[in-house]
Symmetry: C2
Subunit: 296 residues, 2 copies
DNA sequence: ATGGACGTGTGAGATTTCCTGACAGGTCGT
DNA sequence: ACGACCTGTCAGGAAATCTCACACGTCCAT
């Protein structure tokens, strides 16, 4: 099925010249010189083996063949212009739906939304809370920001943004904060530890990595989400363990203390999207998130 | 009204790649390498700010945006292909309608039609007899081959092919041919001269130019057309006066004698067409006719 | 009628675009 | 695991395209 088209650039030039009935005005519209227009029309005439314009006084006039070609070309090019404009518009204005947990949303994304709007003006972000990553597909989502361990589902394209780093945190208002601030890590075994039902392995895994006796850990209040646990920690109700970015602002403001170093876990902050997506904003967003997560 | 289109070459490349779902096959169709296809698709993606293809195994798969663009592009390009093919076909197969007098047709065009078909294979010639040039417009004609004097109508584009050259001719079968063959021009005043009703001035004008006494010319048989007059001359019925190309074959074959030199008149062989035509075959045909008329 | 404004056609040279040809890397089937 | 197959990418060169300048014809005002 080999059918050939004339030079499309020549055709576009011709369409403008035919519509404006002037090589000079067509040149202005196409941001070229009139010589280029004249030449392109010559090319098209040679390809079709006919004359498209005749001279009418000091201007141009279409021949019969020229009129026919103009009708065909203007219709097709208008269709193309319209379709491309529509597509462009949709691409530019379509919001990017990012899913993340409520805790990440409230404690990390929301404080950074204003800066993001400034630094990524092209991306209209819609945020959607996803507490549990869907098994397959991402209904209504363009991407998800997750804390997760490999392996990743094969259907995802995963951008690893930063390793997860966690540490115990507590409030200056904590009854034993003065003592804890200078205490050895081992002192934590005496504290009732705030924890979440969604990640029961957080404390034990951390303790193992820090050579703290896992068996002697005492669990205190449990929360459904990290967000509530951290609110409890800020309120001085106990020692929590949390990813650094979610508590960095509180530490900087003095609402939380973290006397022990943050340590990497096996999990990472990842931005994941369906493999078939191909949305270029994923890379843009991933790059920006990576920068933000790397800040002190 | 400035609306911009993406690169049309990139769009054509994309359309082929989307239709064939393969950069390699698109490259084969477009007679380029797959690298060129890949690059053009990249250009288009950059212009639209989106991804059009994703990788599907070792092949390509369209994204949602790609599918939309394919629908738009294939429809528009198909329309363009169809319109251009139709136009091309009409241009190539449209016969060129040439008008000329019956005399020129019978004594000059018809003997040359075979050679013309060989030397101008692209031109399908239709011949139409026009005894009197129409005042304005050329109904049903693409051009006319005429013997005519300036000035030309302003609405015509006129290609002057050759000056008209005429001379008296007679047959070897003419009763006084032996005497005429060696006679002085002045001897013609004694002959009853064959002439046409359509150009009664032919003999007087020629005689004036040759310093022969016009008043003493004797007119013999009159014919409606040059063609019949020349047939009469060939039959030995008298002395006719004729344009060189129309009798050259007869002279070469010995059917007519022309002992006196051919002289230019004020008329010319011209190919004329409407000024608005712009048909490139006019120039082709004019060139060929000019060559043929210049032959000995 | 004459000069100037306007519009188009054409040429040589410069510039941009485009293609090629080779290589790298990933996927599929055996 | 290997080869066949497909795509992405790069540097360099070929080709298309543009620009600039000038020539020429038309229209208008003086």
């Amino acid at each position: 099925m080999i059918r050939d088209l004339p030079s499309l650039n020549a055709l576009r030039t011709f369409e403008a010249a035919a519509r404006l009935e002037s090589a000079t005005r067509a040149a202005a519209e196409l941001n070229v010189t009139h010589g280029a227009v004249s030449r392109q029309i010559r090319v098209l005439e040679a390809e079709l083996g006919t004359t498209l314009f005749t001279h009418e006084g000091r201007g141009l006039a279409l021949t019969a063949a020229g009129r026919r070609l103009r009708d065909v070309a203007s219709s097709a090019l208008d269709q193309l212009r319209d379709g491309c404009a529509r597509l462009r518009h949709d691409i530019e204005t379509a919001p990017f739906v990012l899913g993340c947990s409520g805790s990440v949303l409230a404690r990390w994304m929301i404080p950074r939304l204003e800066r993001m709007g400034r630094e990524l003006p092209g991306v209209k972000l819609n945020l959607s809370v996803i507490e549990h990553a869907p098994a397959n597909g991402m209904p209504g989502l363009d991407a998800m920001l997750l804390l997760a361990e490999p392996p990743w589902p094969a259907a995802w394209q995963v951008h690893v943004l930063a390793p997860e780093r966690i540490a115990p945190v507590f409030s200056p208002r904590h009854p034993r904060s003065a003592a804890l601030r200078k205490a050895n890590l081992a002192a934590l075994v005496k504290e009732p530890l705030l924890h979440t039902t969604s990640r029961p392995q957080a404390w034990p895994a951390w303790a193992r990595a820090q050579r703290v006796a896992v068996a002697r850990l005492q669990f205190g209040q449990a929360f459904e989400h990290l967000y509530y646990m951290l609110e409890a920690a800020v309120a001085g109700l106990g020692v929590a363990i949390a990813p650094e970015p979610l508590v960095a602002d509180d530490i900087a403001a003095g609402r939380l203390l973290a006397p022990w170093a943050f340590r990497a876990t096996r999990a990472s902050w990842v931005l994941c999207a369906p493999k078939s997506s191909g949305d270029p904003r994923i890379a843009t967003l991933g790059h920006w998130l990576q920068q933000q997560l790397a800040l002190p």
